[in-house]
Structure formats: C-alpha cells, structure tokens
C-alpha cells in the first residue's frame, strides 16, 4: 500500500469515495438539467 494505484487496486475503500463524488456530482447535474426550465 505505497502508491495511489495500490490504493485503487487493493482496497475497496475507493467505492466510498466514488459514492461520495457521485452524490456531490448529482447536484450540478440536476442544476444543469433544470436551470433554464426553472427560469421559465
């Protein structure tokens, strides 16, 4: 467990980070989708 790649390939902890990024990412995703709709 010395490099970032080791961390990615050898632990499952990455799934928590991915889940967090996806959850945070869903906010701009939704905003981008509905921004102009709300302005109307």
């Amino acid at each position: 467990m010395e490099t970032l790649l080791d961390y990615i390939f050898e632990t499952k902890k990455l799934s928590y980070i991915v889940a967090l990024i996806l959850m945070i990412g869903s906010i701009p995703f939704w905003r981008f989708l509905t921004e102009r709709e709300e302005k109307k």
Binding site: I8, F9, K12, L14, S15, V18, A19, L22, S26, F29, F32, L33, E35, R36, E37
Partner: protein, 387 residues
C-alpha cells in the same frame, strides 16, 4: 386527428418489399430450425449454448418492451396525464415485444409442447422459473391493458367498460411483475460468476438490468413516437408541438435514468474491485459501452433538454436503444465465456441474424396493421379521453 391526409393505399412500398423478402427467405430457415434442429441454423455449440437469439430476441427484447410498464405507471399511478397520448402505443409495443420474446425463446429452446411443464412441475427455487412465469403473466396483463382499444374498434361497449375498470389494477399488477422479471433476467446471471466477465458480473446485476430497462423503455417510446409521427402521421391524434413537449419530458426522464445507471455501474466496478480489468481488451470494450452508449446519450439528453431540442432527444434515444442492445449482447455471449480459447469462440451465423430480423419485421408489420385500424395513436370518436 392531425391535419395529415390519409395516404392512398399502396402495396408496393420499399418497406413492404423488404418485409416480403425477409418473410420468404425465412420460410426455409424456419423449416430447418424445427425439422433439423437448432444446430442447422446457428453456430451454437456445447460451450456456447446462449447466443444472438437469447441476447437480442430475449434479453434486449424484454428491456426494449419496458416502455409499457414505465408509461402506464407514469400516467395511471403517478398521474402524469400529459403523457397519456403515448401510453397505448407504449403498451402495444410492449405487448408485441413480449409475444415476440416468447416466440424467440421457443425458437431457442425448441419442443414448445413441453412449455406447460413449467407450471406442472414448477422449479420454485429457480430464477428462470420466475422469469418464465412473469413473462407469461405480464403478457396477459398487457393484453388486458390494451384491450379497451380492441373493444372500441370492435364496438363492444360493455366489454370495453369492464376492461377500462380493471386498467388501474392491471397497471399495478404489471409494474410488480415487470420490476421483478426485468431484474430477475439479470439476477439469472448471478449463477455465472466464473463465466461472465468481472466487469459485467456484479452482485447488483439485477439492479443494473432494472434501471437500464427503464431507460430502454423511455428511449423506445421516444423513438417509436418519432417513427409513428413520420410514417403514420394521419393516425396520430396529437400535433407536432405536443409531441415535442412529450419528447422533451421523456428526454429529461431518460437523462436522469441513464445518469443513475452510469453511477451505479461505476459503483459496481468500485465495489467489485475490478479496476485493473479496464486496461485489458475486454475492459476497453466495457468502456466503449459505458462511455459511448451510456454517458454520451446521457450528456446529449442533458444538453437537449436544457436547450429544448427534441431532435437531439430523438438522436440520443436511438443511441440509448443501441446501447441497451449492446449491453444485453455483451452479457449474453460477448463477455460471457470470455475465457474460452479463441478457436472455441462464437460468432452468430447469418441465419441467426435473419431469424431475429424476421421477428423485428413481423413486429413492425403487426404494429402497423393494428395502429392503422384501432384507436392506439388517436382517440376513438365515440369515446373522449383514452383512459
């Protein structure tokens, strides 16, 4: 009704000629399949018993027929009445899709007279039993859901009243069945951890199948609405402007569904700990599917809805449909048995493609026959709103 005039009936059209060629060439192939066995028309073997027919006719067919339950749920259960004009076409497509799936399974399995054994000696612990039972039940349910159109056409008012009164119950029953068997088709692959490539295999594969079926159903409804308007405009009961608004709404829903699907697939890779496969040839193929046929249409939908561009929604719907077919082919035979030596690999025979093309063509011909007669795309003049 739209302003488009009823076209003069012409028998010789490019599509009719194409359909006639497909049907005529299929006849000897059907004979070969049923009288000389499955080996005479397919490249399947003992190592690869599942091929193009299971991937396309069954797996992709069931997913693309999901528009029926998605739209019926949206309109009848969630009260999204603005989508009412696309409910009947979606249910009809779903019904015909399921009928063709059953015929497709019959071609693959053979010995259709043994089908009742599924009920006489039910394998209650088998997911395959669940799928078989549900597809049969759901096909019946969809017939009930579409039957008001049939009775309106026949003028059987009493039967129509009974059919309409059970529509809500049928929709609830239908959504329960669909949720279960769409995911069960994927869950069936849970017994293949050593055969299905790790990038496609996941303990969550049932969830992947279910979520992707929603996107497939929505994309098919979008795509089919475009085709109906283009080729059967004289029957369509709504104008282009309303169809565009419906298309944009469907695009928004598909965008969210594809975004969710991409996210859970990514989590599947993270949870399955399969990152290192992404650099392999199969991994690159997985990326083609995920980036080219999930993320790309998702972004196209995103832009199309934001900028209110229905044509772009339709283009994205086409890519989504292709993507779902690719995914089902991948899990059925491309990424299945991936460790087999190259010389034992499988590529479908032309006859397999042809028989599948027969099912698609037959589906279009039957759909066109029904839609040009029954009140599917428009309302019957004796009845107001469709439902």
């Amino acid at each position: 009704m739209s302003d488009s005039a009823v076209p003069e009936k012409k028998w010789i059209t490019p599509f009719n000629v194409f359909a006639a060629v497909v049907f005529v060439v299929s006849l000897p192939l059907i004979y070969l399949r049923w009288f000389h066995g499955i080996g005479s028309v397919t490249n399947l073997n003992q190592d690869v018993p599942w091929g193009f027919w299971i991937g396309f006719d069954v797996m992709a067919g069931v997913a693309l027929a999901a528009g029926g339950y998605v739209m019926a749920t949206a309109v009848h259960l969630f009260g999204m009445k603005e989508y009412e004009p696309v409910v009947r076409p979606a249910i009809l497509t779903g019904f015909l899709g399921y009928v063709l799936v059953i015929i497709g399974v019959g071609f693959d399995l053979g010995r259709p007279w043994n089908a009742p054994h599924m009920l006489l000696q039910p394998g209650l612990a088998s997911i395959l039993f669940l799928v078989g039972l549900h597809v049969g039940l759901y096909c019946t349910t969809q017939f009930v859901e579409i039957s008001p159109a049939l009775f309106e056409w026949l003028g059987w008012k009493k039967w129509r009243k009974i059919a309409v009164s059970i529509t809500l119950g049928a929709t609830i029953f239908g959504v329960i069945l669909s949720t279960l068997h769409q995911s069960a088709l994927g869950a069936m692959l849970l017994i293949t951890p050593t055969k299905l490539h790790p990038l496609w295999y996941s303990p969550f594969i049932g969830l992947f199948f279910f979520v992707s079926s929603i996107a497939a159903g929505l994309a098919m409804v979008t795509f089919e609405g475009m085709l109906s308007h283009k080729f059967m405009g004289y029957r369509v009961g709504i104008d282009q402007d309303r169809l565009d608004r419906i298309t944009l709404g469907l695009g928004k829903a598909t965008c969210i569904t594809l975004g969710t699907y991409f996210a859970i697939k990514l989590l599947g890779v993270a949870h399955g700990h399969t990152w290192h496969f992404l650099g392999t040839p199969m991994g690159l193929w997985f990326l083609v599917e995920m980036l080219g046929f999930v993320l790309l249409p998702c972004v196209l939908y995103l832009v199309a809805y934001r900028e209110q561009r229905p044509k772009l929604v339709r283009f994205a719907a086409f890519i989504t449909v292709m993507g779902i077919i690719l995914n089902r082919l991948n899990v059925s035979f491309i990424a299945f048995n991936w460790q087999l030596p190259h010389d034992k690999g499988y590529f479908p025979a032309w006859t397999e493609f042809w028989i599948s093309m027969l099912f698609v063509t037959a589906g279009i011909v039957i759909y066109r026959w029904i839609v040009s007669r029954m009140p599917i795309l428009d309302n019957h003049p004796d009845y107001g709103s469709i439902h």
